[in-house]
Amino acid sequence: MNRRTARLLVRLYPRAWRERYGTEFEAMLERGQGDFQTFANVVWSALGERLFPTVPDSNTGPTLFQSWCARAPWAMFGIAPLVLLVAAYFAACFILWSGWRIFLPGMETPFAARLHGVSILYFGVGRWLYFYAPVAIGWAVAVTAARQQSRAIWPVAGLVLIALAGGAAQVQTYRASDGGRVSLDFFFGHTVHTLVLFAVTVIPYLILRIGRERRVGV
């Protein structure tokens, strides 16, 4: 493998790891074959090291975020994701409401119209937030909790809350005399949707947790 590629691959690893093993690892990569299998192996290992670092960074202590995860996991994994989800839903509703006024004035509903040009993108962002925010936030909780080695109870509680909120949230729109109105209602009857959301977020969390334990345990 040429020196440039080897250096590039070493840079995929976290700084602390590179400081300890970078030079020797680069020398070994230069001696070895530069085939796809080697490339994939290094990328996969570097990703694992980035997700679950085994070499602690000696230059910096725990970040504010890490110390909060350790001190108040109930807030970081239970409350904060819910607040984020509410913010995402608020943004989605605002996009729907403002898009209705900007692109579809006079229309009875913002859903039935055919969209053109930039309005597709505008409403698309809102739609993405509405449908995928619970999953994205759930995955963020899963990765963070697995990295911080938090006890399972708080992340799982957080994922349950997200699934409940995500499964129950429903956008309502209606035409009023002063223009269109958008509101978010909660209807706790969509059991399948709630269960799917929970599964989609909790399974990655479990996989990451097992992966972490396998990496740490020799």
Binding site: W17, Y21, T23, E24, F25, E26, A27, M28, L29, R31, G32, Q37, T38, N41, V42, V43, W44, S45, A46, G48, E49, T54, V55, R214, R215, V216, G217, V218
Partner: protein, 113 residues
């Protein structure tokens, strides 16, 4: 040490006889004397036919060093040789003994089939 995969069997399939437990393979390789990364890969390939990827090898080296089962020696230019520690030897002996008992019992059962 973690579980093992593809425990040796005498079949025509070359993949079936491979053994993959990187930390154990590294310890076994270093039991034959100090080596740097590339030499370990070659030695392990000769020992059991498994060619460890560089990322896998250094993942194992990182963990073994943290456990205190291997230690770095004086670097040779950019290469870093490692050697097994006394604790590493003790762990390796215990693991290989268990594996030996396990494989003996397994082969005995195979003979009866």
């Amino acid at each position: 040490m973690r579980s093992t995969r593809h425990v040796v069997s005498e079949t025509g399939d070359p993949e079936a006889g491979h053994y993959s437990d990187p930390p154990l393979l590294v310890l076994t390789s270093l039991a034959g004397g100090p080596k740097h990364g590339h030499a370990m890969i070659e030695d392990i390939a000769r020992l059991c036919g498994t060619r460890l990827g560089p990322g896998t090898l250094y993942g194992a080296i990182t963990r073994l060093e943290q456990q205190g089962w291997i230690e770095p020696l004086r670097p040779e230019e950019r290469r870093q040789p490692y050697r097994i520690t006394a604790e590493g030897l003790r762990v390796l002996r215990a693991k290989l003994t268990t594996l030996h008992k396990f494989s003996k019992a397994g082969l005995k059962r195979l003979e009866a089939v």
